[in-house]
Protein backbone atom coordinates (compact mmCIF):
# COMPACT_ATOMS: atom_id res chain seq x y z
CA UNK A 1 0.00 0.00 0.00
CA UNK A 2 1.16 3.50 -0.79
CA UNK A 3 2.24 5.75 2.01
CA UNK A 4 3.31 8.86 0.17
CA UNK A 5 0.46 10.95 1.55
CA UNK A 6 1.39 11.33 5.20
CA UNK A 7 -0.98 14.15 6.13
CA UNK A 8 -3.76 15.99 4.44
CA UNK A 9 -1.60 19.09 4.02
CA UNK A 10 -3.22 20.10 0.79
CA UNK A 11 -6.66 20.34 2.32
CA UNK A 12 -7.91 18.41 -0.68
CA UNK A 13 -10.22 16.06 1.17
CA UNK A 14 -7.91 13.08 0.91
CA UNK A 15 -6.17 11.91 4.04
CA UNK A 16 -3.90 8.91 4.08
CA UNK A 17 -6.56 6.55 5.37
CA UNK A 18 -9.02 7.74 2.74
CA UNK A 19 -6.43 7.43 0.05
CA UNK A 20 -5.58 3.89 1.05
CA UNK A 21 -9.26 3.04 1.03
CA UNK A 22 -9.49 4.40 -2.50
CA UNK A 23 -6.52 2.30 -3.50
CA UNK A 24 -8.09 -0.79 -2.03
CA UNK A 25 -10.92 -0.37 -4.49
CA UNK A 26 -8.64 -0.96 -7.44
CA UNK A 27 -9.73 -4.04 -9.27
CA UNK A 28 -12.31 -5.09 -6.72
CA UNK A 29 -15.37 -3.33 -8.14
CA UNK A 30 -17.13 -0.50 -6.39
CA UNK A 31 -20.44 1.23 -6.46
CA UNK A 32 -20.27 4.94 -5.78
CA UNK A 33 -23.33 7.00 -5.09
CA UNK A 34 -23.07 10.79 -5.07
CA UNK A 35 -25.90 12.61 -3.33
CA UNK A 36 -25.65 16.36 -2.82
CA UNK A 37 -21.89 16.14 -2.93
CA UNK A 38 -21.70 13.34 -0.39
CA UNK A 39 -20.14 10.11 -1.57
CA UNK A 40 -21.22 6.70 -0.41
CA UNK A 41 -19.27 3.73 -1.58
CA UNK A 42 -19.99 0.03 -1.38
CA UNK A 43 -18.11 -3.06 -2.42
CA UNK A 44 -19.60 -4.21 -5.68
CA UNK A 45 -20.30 -7.71 -4.41
CA UNK A 46 -22.39 -6.35 -1.52
CA UNK A 47 -24.32 -4.16 -3.89
CA UNK A 48 -25.01 -7.00 -6.28
CA UNK A 49 -26.46 -9.03 -3.42
CA UNK A 50 -28.82 -6.14 -2.71
CA UNK A 51 -29.79 -5.97 -6.37
CA UNK A 52 -27.88 -3.12 -7.96
CA UNK A 53 -30.56 -3.02 -10.71
CA UNK A 54 -32.85 -1.07 -8.36
CA UNK A 55 -30.49 1.88 -8.84
CA UNK A 56 -31.44 2.16 -12.48
CA UNK A 57 -31.78 5.82 -13.41
CA UNK A 58 -32.80 8.04 -16.29
CA UNK A 59 -29.55 7.53 -18.05
CA UNK A 60 -26.84 4.93 -17.88
CA UNK A 61 -23.60 4.93 -19.77
CA UNK A 62 -20.34 3.03 -19.66
CA UNK A 63 -16.75 4.25 -19.63
CA UNK A 64 -14.03 2.09 -21.11
CA UNK A 65 -10.41 3.18 -21.36
CA UNK A 66 -6.83 2.43 -22.32
CA UNK A 67 -7.34 -0.42 -24.79
CA UNK A 68 -3.76 -0.02 -26.10
CA UNK A 69 -4.45 -2.09 -29.21
CA UNK A 70 -1.03 -3.10 -30.60
CA UNK A 71 0.58 -3.71 -27.20
CA UNK A 72 1.95 -7.27 -27.17
CA UNK A 73 4.38 -7.48 -24.24
CA UNK A 74 4.23 -9.98 -21.34
CA UNK A 75 2.00 -7.75 -19.15
CA UNK A 76 -0.78 -8.76 -21.58
CA UNK A 77 0.07 -10.34 -24.95
CA UNK A 78 -3.62 -10.34 -26.00
CA UNK A 79 -5.07 -6.85 -25.50
CA UNK A 80 -7.61 -7.41 -28.29
CA UNK A 81 -8.88 -10.45 -26.38
CA UNK A 82 -9.32 -8.56 -23.13
CA UNK A 83 -11.05 -5.69 -25.01
CA UNK A 84 -13.51 -8.28 -26.36
CA UNK A 85 -14.09 -9.51 -22.81
CA UNK A 86 -14.78 -5.93 -21.71
CA UNK A 87 -17.27 -5.55 -24.58
CA UNK A 88 -18.99 -8.80 -23.53
CA UNK A 89 -19.22 -7.41 -20.00
CA UNK A 90 -20.93 -4.26 -21.30
CA UNK A 91 -23.27 -6.28 -23.50
CA UNK A 92 -24.29 -8.38 -20.46
CA UNK A 93 -25.49 -5.34 -18.45
CA UNK A 94 -29.20 -5.59 -17.53
CA UNK A 95 -29.84 -2.19 -19.16
CA UNK A 96 -27.90 -1.45 -22.35
CA UNK A 97 -25.95 1.79 -21.88
CA UNK A 98 -27.26 4.84 -23.79
CA UNK A 99 -23.72 5.37 -25.01
CA UNK A 100 -20.12 4.45 -24.27
CA UNK A 101 -17.26 6.84 -23.51
CA UNK A 102 -13.75 5.71 -24.49
CA UNK A 103 -11.32 7.87 -22.52
CA UNK A 104 -8.29 7.41 -24.72
CA UNK A 105 -5.28 5.29 -25.55
CA UNK A 106 -7.37 3.34 -28.02
CA UNK A 107 -4.08 2.21 -29.56
CA UNK A 108 -0.54 1.69 -28.33
CA UNK A 109 1.37 3.20 -31.26
CA UNK A 110 -1.20 5.24 -33.26
CA UNK A 111 -0.92 2.82 -36.20
CA UNK A 112 -3.75 2.67 -38.78
CA UNK A 113 -4.16 -1.09 -38.32
CA UNK A 114 -4.45 -0.62 -34.55
CA UNK A 115 -7.23 1.94 -35.02
CA UNK A 116 -8.87 -0.50 -37.48
CA UNK A 117 -8.83 -3.35 -34.94
CA UNK A 118 -10.25 -1.07 -32.24
CA UNK A 119 -13.09 0.14 -34.47
CA UNK A 120 -13.89 -3.38 -35.68
CA UNK A 121 -13.97 -4.73 -32.11
CA UNK A 122 -16.23 -1.95 -30.82
CA UNK A 123 -18.81 -2.60 -33.57
CA UNK A 124 -20.14 -5.44 -31.41
CA UNK A 125 -20.94 -3.08 -28.51
CA UNK A 126 -24.67 -2.98 -27.82
CA UNK A 127 -25.10 0.76 -27.54
CA UNK A 128 -26.31 3.65 -29.70
CA UNK A 129 -23.11 5.63 -29.84
CA UNK A 130 -19.49 5.76 -28.75
CA UNK A 131 -17.74 9.00 -27.82
CA UNK A 132 -13.95 9.27 -27.80
CA UNK A 133 -11.19 11.48 -26.50
CA UNK A 134 -7.55 10.78 -27.44
CA UNK A 135 -4.81 9.49 -25.17
CA UNK A 136 -1.15 10.33 -25.72
CA UNK A 137 -0.69 6.96 -27.45
CA UNK A 138 -3.27 7.96 -30.09
CA UNK A 139 -1.50 11.12 -31.22
CA UNK A 140 2.09 9.90 -31.74
CA UNK A 141 3.99 11.25 -34.76
CA UNK A 142 1.13 13.20 -36.38
CA UNK A 143 -0.15 15.44 -33.57
CA UNK A 144 -3.41 13.52 -33.58
CA UNK A 145 -4.34 13.97 -37.28
CA UNK A 146 -5.31 10.32 -37.81
CA UNK A 147 -7.29 10.13 -34.57
CA UNK A 148 -9.08 13.36 -35.45
CA UNK A 149 -9.97 12.13 -38.92
CA UNK A 150 -11.42 8.86 -37.61
CA UNK A 151 -12.95 9.79 -34.26
CA UNK A 152 -13.01 13.57 -34.00
CA UNK A 153 -15.40 14.59 -36.78
CA UNK A 154 -17.54 17.57 -35.83
CA UNK A 155 -15.46 18.49 -32.78
CA UNK A 156 -14.00 21.88 -31.89
CA UNK A 157 -10.34 22.97 -32.05
CA UNK A 158 -8.04 20.01 -31.46
CA UNK A 159 -10.96 17.67 -30.76
CA UNK A 160 -12.93 18.92 -27.75
CA UNK A 161 -16.74 18.92 -27.74
CA UNK A 162 -19.87 18.81 -25.60
CA UNK A 163 -23.34 17.28 -25.86
CA UNK A 164 -26.50 16.98 -23.80
CA UNK A 165 -28.26 13.78 -22.75
CA UNK A 166 -31.37 13.59 -20.56
CA UNK A 167 -30.69 16.94 -18.93
CA UNK A 168 -27.01 16.25 -18.19
CA UNK A 169 -24.21 18.10 -20.01
CA UNK A 170 -21.22 16.05 -21.19
CA UNK A 171 -17.85 17.62 -22.06
CA UNK A 172 -15.00 15.77 -23.81
CA UNK A 173 -11.61 17.45 -23.34
CA UNK A 174 -8.20 16.87 -24.95
CA UNK A 175 -5.16 17.13 -22.65
CA UNK A 176 -2.54 15.07 -24.51
CA UNK A 177 -1.40 17.49 -27.23
CA UNK A 178 1.41 20.07 -27.24
CA UNK A 179 2.91 18.78 -24.00
CA UNK A 180 5.79 20.87 -22.69
CA UNK A 181 9.15 19.64 -21.39
CA UNK A 182 8.98 18.93 -17.68
CA UNK A 183 5.21 19.40 -17.60
CA UNK A 184 2.03 17.34 -17.22
CA UNK A 185 -1.08 17.05 -19.37
CA UNK A 186 -2.17 20.33 -20.97
CA UNK A 187 -5.55 21.74 -22.01
CA UNK A 188 -4.24 25.00 -23.45
CA UNK A 189 -5.61 28.51 -23.66
CA UNK A 190 -7.94 27.97 -26.63
CA UNK A 191 -9.66 24.97 -25.09
CA UNK A 192 -10.03 26.70 -21.71
CA UNK A 193 -11.67 29.69 -23.40
CA UNK A 194 -14.07 27.37 -25.20
CA UNK A 195 -14.90 25.55 -21.96
CA UNK A 196 -15.67 28.78 -20.13
CA UNK A 197 -18.11 29.78 -22.89
CA UNK A 198 -19.57 26.28 -23.17
CA UNK A 199 -20.68 26.11 -19.52
CA UNK A 200 -21.61 29.82 -19.22
CA UNK A 201 -24.97 29.16 -20.86
CA UNK A 202 -25.94 26.34 -18.47
CA UNK A 203 -28.10 26.54 -15.35
CA UNK A 204 -26.17 25.81 -12.18
CA UNK A 205 -28.51 22.87 -11.52
CA UNK A 206 -27.35 21.10 -14.69
CA UNK A 207 -25.36 17.97 -13.85
CA UNK A 208 -22.04 18.03 -15.68
CA UNK A 209 -19.85 15.11 -16.69
CA UNK A 210 -16.35 15.95 -17.93
CA UNK A 211 -14.20 13.27 -19.53
CA UNK A 212 -10.57 13.42 -20.65
CA UNK A 213 -7.65 11.00 -20.84
CA UNK A 214 -5.10 12.25 -18.28
CA UNK A 215 -6.55 12.88 -14.81
CA UNK A 216 -7.74 16.46 -14.28
CA UNK A 217 -6.59 16.25 -10.66
CA UNK A 218 -3.15 15.81 -9.22
CA UNK A 219 -2.96 12.05 -8.77
CA UNK A 220 0.83 11.71 -8.83
CA UNK A 221 2.66 14.47 -10.72
CA UNK A 222 6.02 12.69 -10.31
CA UNK A 223 4.72 10.20 -12.88
CA UNK A 224 2.96 12.82 -14.99
CA UNK A 225 -0.43 11.83 -13.57
CA UNK A 226 -2.07 15.22 -13.61
CA UNK A 227 -2.87 18.20 -15.88
CA UNK A 228 -0.99 21.50 -15.59
CA UNK A 229 -3.94 23.82 -16.22
CA UNK A 230 -6.78 21.68 -14.84
CA UNK A 231 -7.29 24.09 -11.94
CA UNK A 232 -8.35 26.77 -14.42
CA UNK A 233 -10.81 24.37 -16.08
CA UNK A 234 -12.29 23.28 -12.75
CA UNK A 235 -12.78 26.89 -11.67
CA UNK A 236 -15.38 27.24 -14.45
CA UNK A 237 -17.27 24.26 -12.98
CA UNK A 238 -17.43 25.54 -9.40
CA UNK A 239 -20.89 27.15 -9.73
CA UNK A 240 -22.49 23.82 -10.64
CA UNK A 241 -24.15 21.56 -8.10
CA UNK A 242 -23.04 18.23 -9.55
CA UNK A 243 -19.81 17.72 -11.49
CA UNK A 244 -18.29 14.33 -12.28
CA UNK A 245 -14.85 14.06 -13.88
CA UNK A 246 -14.00 10.77 -15.58
CA UNK A 247 -10.43 9.99 -16.63
CA UNK A 248 -8.25 7.06 -17.72
CA UNK A 249 -4.47 6.99 -18.23
CA UNK A 250 -3.44 5.46 -14.88
CA UNK A 251 -4.93 1.98 -15.51
CA UNK A 252 -6.52 1.67 -12.08
CA UNK A 253 -9.59 3.01 -10.33
CA UNK A 254 -9.22 5.93 -7.99
CA UNK A 255 -11.73 8.40 -6.68
CA UNK A 256 -11.88 11.58 -4.70
CA UNK A 257 -14.32 14.36 -3.93
CA UNK A 258 -13.43 18.01 -3.82
CA UNK A 259 -16.37 20.30 -3.06
CA UNK A 260 -18.98 19.75 -5.76
CA UNK A 261 -16.64 17.70 -7.96
CA UNK A 262 -16.24 13.93 -7.94
CA UNK A 263 -13.16 12.61 -9.71
CA UNK A 264 -13.00 9.05 -10.92
CA UNK A 265 -10.47 7.12 -12.97
CA UNK A 266 -11.32 3.90 -14.81
CA UNK A 267 -9.50 0.61 -15.17
CA UNK A 268 -7.78 -0.21 -18.43
CA UNK A 269 -8.99 -3.01 -20.69
CA UNK A 270 -5.36 -3.89 -21.56
CA UNK A 271 -2.75 -3.97 -18.77
CA UNK A 272 -2.51 -2.72 -15.16
CA UNK A 273 -0.10 -0.04 -13.95
CA UNK A 274 1.42 0.17 -10.47
CA UNK A 275 -0.05 2.22 -7.65
CA UNK A 276 1.54 5.68 -7.39
CA UNK A 277 5.15 5.46 -6.24
CA UNK A 278 5.00 1.70 -5.76
CA UNK A 279 7.42 0.95 -8.62
CA UNK A 280 10.41 2.59 -10.30
CA UNK A 281 8.20 3.84 -13.12
CA UNK A 282 4.56 3.80 -14.26
CA UNK A 283 5.31 1.13 -16.91
CA UNK A 284 3.03 -1.87 -17.57
CA UNK A 285 2.76 -4.05 -14.45
CA UNK A 286 3.36 -7.75 -14.93
CA UNK A 287 1.08 -9.91 -12.78
CA UNK A 288 0.43 -13.67 -12.80
CA UNK A 289 -1.91 -14.57 -15.67
CA UNK A 290 -4.70 -15.64 -13.31
CA UNK A 291 -4.68 -12.20 -11.65
CA UNK A 292 -4.70 -10.06 -14.82
CA UNK A 293 -8.46 -9.94 -15.35
CA UNK A 294 -9.01 -8.87 -11.75
CA UNK A 295 -7.07 -5.69 -12.56
CA UNK A 296 -8.79 -4.84 -15.84
CA UNK A 297 -12.35 -3.66 -16.22
CA UNK A 298 -15.11 -1.26 -17.20
CA UNK A 299 -17.06 1.51 -15.46
CA UNK A 300 -20.86 1.72 -15.51
CA UNK A 301 -22.46 5.05 -14.62
CA UNK A 302 -26.12 5.64 -13.72
CA UNK A 303 -27.66 9.07 -13.61
CA UNK A 304 -30.96 9.75 -11.87
CA UNK A 305 -32.49 13.03 -13.00
CA UNK A 306 -33.71 15.38 -10.30
CA UNK A 307 -31.69 13.66 -7.62
CA UNK A 308 -28.28 14.91 -8.76
CA UNK A 309 -27.22 11.35 -8.38
CA UNK A 310 -24.56 9.50 -10.28
CA UNK A 311 -23.98 5.90 -9.37
CA UNK A 312 -20.59 4.70 -10.53
CA UNK A 313 -19.91 0.97 -10.66
CA UNK A 314 -16.53 -0.45 -11.59
CA UNK A 315 -16.41 -4.09 -12.56
CA UNK A 316 -13.41 -6.21 -13.39
CA UNK A 317 -13.27 -8.57 -16.36
Amino acid sequence: MSDYIEKNQDNDGVDRRGFLKCMAWAGTGTLCLVQGGVLKSFALNDVLQEKVRDLKGDLSFVQISDSHIGFNKPANPDVTGTLREAIAKVNALPTPPSFVLHTGDLTHLSKPEEFDTLSESLKSLKTDRIFYVPGEHDVLNDNGAMFHERFGQGTQGDGWYSFDQKGAHFIGLVNVLNLKAGGLGTLGHEQLEWLEKDVAKLKSSTPIVVFAHIPLWSVYPQWGWGTDDSEQALSYLKPFGSVTVLNGHIHQTMQKIEGNITFHTACSTSFPQPQPGQADSPGPMKVPAEKLRGLLGITDVNFVRGKHTLAIVDSTL
Binding site: Q9, D10, N11, D12, F71, K73, A75, H108, L109, S110, E136, H137, L140, N141, L179, K180, A181, G182, G183, L184, S218, P221, Q222, W223, G224, G226, D228, S230, E231, E258, D280, S281, P282, G283, P284
Partner: protein, 130 residues
Protein backbone atom coordinates in the same frame (compact mmCIF):
# COMPACT_ATOMS: atom_id res chain seq x y z
CA UNK B 1 -4.95 22.32 -4.71
CA UNK B 2 -1.84 23.60 -2.95
CA UNK B 3 0.04 20.61 -4.23
CA UNK B 4 -0.91 21.60 -7.76
CA UNK B 5 0.35 25.15 -7.26
CA UNK B 6 3.64 23.93 -5.85
CA UNK B 7 3.98 21.67 -8.85
CA UNK B 8 3.34 24.61 -11.11
CA UNK B 9 5.97 26.83 -9.60
CA UNK B 10 8.46 23.99 -9.79
CA UNK B 11 7.53 23.47 -13.43
CA UNK B 12 7.91 27.12 -14.28
CA UNK B 13 11.30 27.12 -12.56
CA UNK B 14 12.38 24.21 -14.71
CA UNK B 15 10.98 25.91 -17.81
CA UNK B 16 12.84 29.11 -16.96
CA UNK B 17 16.06 27.18 -16.67
CA UNK B 18 15.37 25.55 -20.00
CA UNK B 19 14.59 28.83 -21.71
CA UNK B 20 17.89 30.26 -20.44
CA UNK B 21 19.69 27.16 -21.65
CA UNK B 22 17.95 27.19 -25.00
CA UNK B 23 18.72 30.85 -25.65
CA UNK B 24 22.25 29.94 -26.67
CA UNK B 25 21.13 27.43 -29.28
CA UNK B 26 19.57 29.46 -32.13
CA UNK B 27 22.69 31.54 -32.74
CA UNK B 28 24.77 28.38 -32.99
CA UNK B 29 22.37 26.90 -35.50
CA UNK B 30 22.39 30.06 -37.58
CA UNK B 31 26.17 30.30 -37.48
CA UNK B 32 26.76 26.82 -38.79
CA UNK B 33 23.49 25.43 -40.13
CA UNK B 34 25.23 22.07 -40.02
CA UNK B 35 23.35 20.22 -37.27
CA UNK B 36 21.54 17.32 -38.85
CA UNK B 37 20.31 13.86 -37.89
CA UNK B 38 22.46 10.91 -38.98
CA UNK B 39 21.30 7.41 -39.64
CA UNK B 40 22.13 4.54 -37.29
CA UNK B 41 24.22 2.79 -39.94
CA UNK B 42 26.46 5.81 -40.23
CA UNK B 43 27.26 5.43 -36.55
CA UNK B 44 29.24 2.28 -37.27
CA UNK B 45 31.71 4.20 -39.43
CA UNK B 46 32.15 6.97 -36.91
CA UNK B 47 34.45 6.49 -33.93
CA UNK B 48 32.86 9.13 -31.69
CA UNK B 49 29.52 7.53 -30.74
CA UNK B 50 27.68 7.25 -27.48
CA UNK B 51 24.43 5.64 -26.32
CA UNK B 52 21.68 6.97 -24.04
CA UNK B 53 19.39 4.23 -22.74
CA UNK B 54 15.70 4.94 -22.21
CA UNK B 55 14.55 2.74 -19.35
CA UNK B 56 11.98 3.01 -16.57
CA UNK B 57 10.66 6.26 -17.99
CA UNK B 58 14.02 8.02 -17.79
CA UNK B 59 17.05 8.87 -19.90
CA UNK B 60 20.28 7.30 -18.66
CA UNK B 61 22.56 9.09 -18.32
CA UNK B 62 20.24 12.01 -17.81
CA UNK B 63 23.12 14.45 -18.29
CA UNK B 64 25.92 13.88 -20.69
CA UNK B 65 29.07 15.79 -21.63
CA UNK B 66 30.45 15.08 -25.10
CA UNK B 67 32.89 16.54 -27.63
CA UNK B 68 31.59 18.37 -30.68
CA UNK B 69 31.01 15.97 -33.57
CA UNK B 70 29.86 13.11 -31.37
CA UNK B 71 26.89 11.07 -32.48
CA UNK B 72 24.43 10.19 -29.71
CA UNK B 73 22.11 7.21 -30.14
CA UNK B 74 19.06 6.73 -27.92
CA UNK B 75 17.65 3.23 -27.52
CA UNK B 76 14.25 2.54 -25.93
CA UNK B 77 14.32 -0.42 -23.51
CA UNK B 78 10.81 0.26 -22.09
CA UNK B 79 7.58 -1.59 -22.93
CA UNK B 80 5.98 1.70 -23.96
CA UNK B 81 6.90 4.16 -26.73
CA UNK B 82 9.00 7.24 -26.03
CA UNK B 83 10.32 10.11 -28.13
CA UNK B 84 13.49 12.20 -28.06
CA UNK B 85 12.68 15.84 -28.80
CA UNK B 86 14.80 18.97 -28.29
CA UNK B 87 13.08 21.54 -26.11
CA UNK B 88 12.65 23.88 -29.08
CA UNK B 89 10.83 21.05 -30.95
CA UNK B 90 13.01 21.84 -33.98
CA UNK B 91 16.67 20.88 -33.62
CA UNK B 92 15.96 17.16 -33.30
CA UNK B 93 12.74 15.22 -33.03
CA UNK B 94 12.44 11.44 -33.21
CA UNK B 95 9.36 9.49 -34.18
CA UNK B 96 7.80 7.42 -31.40
CA UNK B 97 10.36 4.72 -30.59
CA UNK B 98 8.86 1.33 -29.78
CA UNK B 99 10.78 -1.18 -27.66
CA UNK B 100 14.41 -1.56 -28.87
CA UNK B 101 14.05 1.12 -31.54
CA UNK B 102 16.79 3.75 -31.89
CA UNK B 103 17.29 7.37 -32.85
CA UNK B 104 20.59 9.14 -33.51
CA UNK B 105 21.74 12.72 -33.78
CA UNK B 106 25.19 14.24 -34.24
CA UNK B 107 26.02 17.29 -32.15
CA UNK B 108 28.31 19.39 -34.35
CA UNK B 109 28.57 22.50 -32.23
CA UNK B 110 29.35 23.29 -28.59
CA UNK B 111 26.43 24.27 -26.41
CA UNK B 112 23.88 22.97 -23.95
CA UNK B 113 21.07 20.94 -25.46
CA UNK B 114 18.03 20.05 -23.39
CA UNK B 115 15.48 17.54 -24.60
CA UNK B 116 12.45 15.56 -23.40
CA UNK B 117 10.00 12.81 -24.28
CA UNK B 118 6.97 14.48 -25.87
CA UNK B 119 4.77 11.53 -24.83
CA UNK B 120 5.86 11.65 -21.17
CA UNK B 121 7.15 15.20 -20.73
CA UNK B 122 8.32 14.53 -17.16
CA UNK B 123 11.20 12.66 -18.83
CA UNK B 124 13.95 15.18 -19.51
CA UNK B 125 17.64 15.06 -20.40
CA UNK B 126 20.56 17.35 -21.13
CA UNK B 127 23.60 17.12 -23.36
CA UNK B 128 26.53 19.51 -22.96
CA UNK B 129 28.74 19.68 -26.05
CA UNK B 130 32.27 20.99 -25.42
Amino acid sequence: MRRLKMQRSKTSRILRTMILGAAAIPSLVLANGALRPRSVTAAQEKPAAITVTIDNFSFAPMQLEIKAGTEVTWINKDDVPHTVVSDDHKLFKSRALDTDEKFSFTFKDPGTYEYFCSVHPKMTGKIVVK
